[in-house]
Amino acid sequence: MLTITISELTGRGKILYTRFVNLVIIYIMITIMILVIVSDYISFSIWDYFTLFLSPTPIILAWIGLRIHLSNSVSLNLLSLLEDGGKSYKQIEKDYNAIKRISDRVNNLKAGNYISSDKDENLENNIKSKLVLTLIRFFRASDGYK
């Protein structure tokens, strides 16, 4: 909880991906600090060290998952469009501005050298893109990939 709190306070609202290393560093520093403080009163075995490092990881991973989900959720964004009253499907489409959102995503991928900037907008032929594509196809075997 201390790791999460400090990461949120120091992160200044930045996207989690850009401060992931920061989160890991804070986690390691806090764990070491706790070990140093508590070791004055309790003698630690190697298992204690492993327990201290390993046991909070599910909670931290759950936190990361929650944060990414909240920021990227299209459905929750659509829900917020209905706050001021009922809307037709066409109005929701217009207000959500899907064209701009898709365009932003494609532009981010171009900026990251995943997609080329020419008119074909093909996936770039570099190691990074190929690796990401392989991973996605592996993870999404249900989409017909092996």
């Binding site: 327990t51 046991s55 599910p58 909240l70 299209v74 995503r105 075997a141």
Partner: protein, 161 residues
């Protein structure tokens, strides 16, 4: 038999990761579903097993130990299902796969947002209702939205979805 609590805890965490990895690699990644029961069933079994193995060898009651296991398990499951949902529904991932194809074979990237599917899901969940050709928030939907906006404001999260 006395089994050190730390050893039990680390072994339990390792078993959880192995269970979730097995579920993802063998089952979930090959199916369209996000939620599968296998990890939940396995983790319940592991909690029962680990809470019964030996004495804890430490000044902690069995109930306290089970509570720790429950916190760890529920966090791990939450993180796992978020991960699976992200992998399967990520629009950016769909765009990447789409742009790996020849331009002639590609779909329109707009299809991946699929507003209609999401509205149908929210209708099914009871967050919105459809009347006279329009969609409105239900009472449940308003509560969800309030909670969402509160959390997003508190954490200064940018909504990019």
């Amino acid at each position: 038999m006395v089994v050190n609590m730390e050893v039990k805890l680390i072994t339990f965490i390792v078993f959880i990761f192995v269970t979730l990895a097995t579920d993802f690699l063998m089952i979930t990644r090959k199916r369209k579903i996000i939620f599968s029961r296998f990890p939940v069933v396995m983790i319940v079994f592991l909690i029962l097993l680990f809470s019964m193995i030996g004495d804890n060898g430490f000044s902690i009651s069995r109930i306290e130990f089970i509570s720790i296991l429950l916190v760890i398990s529920s966090s791990a499951l939450f993180a796992y299902y978020n991960f699976v949902a992200f992998i399967k529904r990520s629009i950016t991932f769909s765009i990447i796969i789409n742009h790996a194809k020849d331009p002639i074979e590609r779909k329109d990237d707009m299809e991946f947002i699929d507003i209609k599917m999401r509205l149908d899901e929210m209708l099914y969940s009871g967050w919105i209702s459809e009347e006279n050709g329009g969609f409105t928030l239900t009472k449940q939907g308003r509560i969800i939205l309030k909670l969402y906006k509160f959390i997003v404001t508190m954490l200064r999260i940018d909504m990019v979805g």
